[in-house]
Subunit: 223 residues, 2 copies
């Protein structure tokens, strides 16, 4: 178990929930300790993790006596415990927009990742009608986000970086790594992606194994 009184996070490379937590820690300039676990060695099922998180999942997070393991719960806890660099605007109406975009990102997992997973699992027996249906859904989903970014002209919920970007960006990075070519069909998402890739907290928290291994290929060919 972590023998520190600083916030401590166990995380695995490439997991969007872990990435969210790292991003909040970095954006808020919180002094923390960490341990990277290997999914392939099943270290998330180690006794060290299970003692803190009976589900055997990462992120697993402690801060003194506080143990929180759901990534969204960790993000909310950090926002409230370390308010110096807020990731929410103060106005209730604008906060509502931030919450809306934060929780709306789960649709990207469903609607875009399903297309990727269908292609991965059915390499030799793709049903072209089903594939087109899933691709259309992915396009509709990305269309929503393209519009949101066009409206703000900046980050995903407002002109400023907020908690909504913490939730949204890892999904965008994931779909780019899966082979999405955003440039032509989704110019605002593409612009956002490039802007974020220059952000120091993103540079610092990019999944380390992405730099070491090739992307899985053009699974998200959306043309």
């Amino acid at each position: 178990m972590a023998t520190t009184s600083k916030p401590f996070v166990y995380w695995g490379s490439g997991s969007p929930p872990c990435w969210k937590v790292l991003l909040v820690l970095q954006e808020k300039k919180i002094d923390y300790d960490e341990k990277i676990i290997s999914f392939s060695k099943k270290e998330h099922k180690s006794e060290e993790i299970l003692e803190l998180n009976p589900r055997g999942q990462v992120p697993t997070f402690t801060d003194g006596d506080v143990v929180v393991n759901e990534s969204t719960a960790i993000c909310m806890y950090l926002e409230e415990k370390y308010p110096k660099v807020p990731l929410f605007p103060s106005d209730t109406t604008i906060r509502a927009k931030v919450y809306q975009r934060m929780f709306e990102t789960s649709n990207i997992s469903t609607n875009v990742m399903e297309f990727v997973q269908y292609k991965m699992k059915n390499k030799d027996s793709i049903d072209q009608v089903l594939l087109k249906e899933k691709k259309d859904k992915a396009h509709v989903e990305l269309g929503h986000w393209e519009n949101y970014l066009k409206q703000t002209g900046g980050f995903v919920a407002t002109k400023e970086f907020t908690m909504a970007d913490v939730f949204f960006f890892p999904m965008v990075a994931l779909i780019v790594r899966q082979g999405a070519n955003l440039k032509d069909s989704y110019p605002n998402i593409f612009k956002y992606y490039n802007m974020m890739m220059d952000r120091p907290t993103i540079v610092k928290t990019m999944p380390p194994h992405w730099a070491e291994s090739d992307s899985p290929g053009n699974l998200l060919d959306l043309c």
Copy 2:
């Protein structure tokens, strides 16, 4: 579109996300207007809803100029906009527990509902090995919640009703309706269920069609 300055919610009977929003409105004693839509008539895809929510889903929610449609975002907005009856404790450490349980409920959908859905979809061709696997998962999941309730001796995150109960109770009610017999294996969840069924806000927000139609049967036979 809603022609009211009061909070206005479009909702459908039996949808846990809709139920969460109604529960928050009722618990916080907020004066609101509502419109019940019929899923079978596809009213969630009506122009009236699509104008406010391009995803064509309920809940769809407005409060003056504010439009929020993700159920969790609506709950957080209501908590902040109408703080008179708080659904979160003030202490950051205890709030962390509330957040943890709120977001942990998504595991019930995955681990318990998958068992139900497998049985529904494969009535005539059930693979007993796969069925046992899914049943074991459901038991592990319910075991977590049984423990949590044993620890608090009251509601799901603390001794008091909190936002975590808003997220958790609709899932419990759903699994009971699907046929789960909690009494013997999960006495603390069973006790919690019965306590909540007497709560005025629950009585008031129970899915109306549940009173009119039979439950789908013993799909969650966990013995």
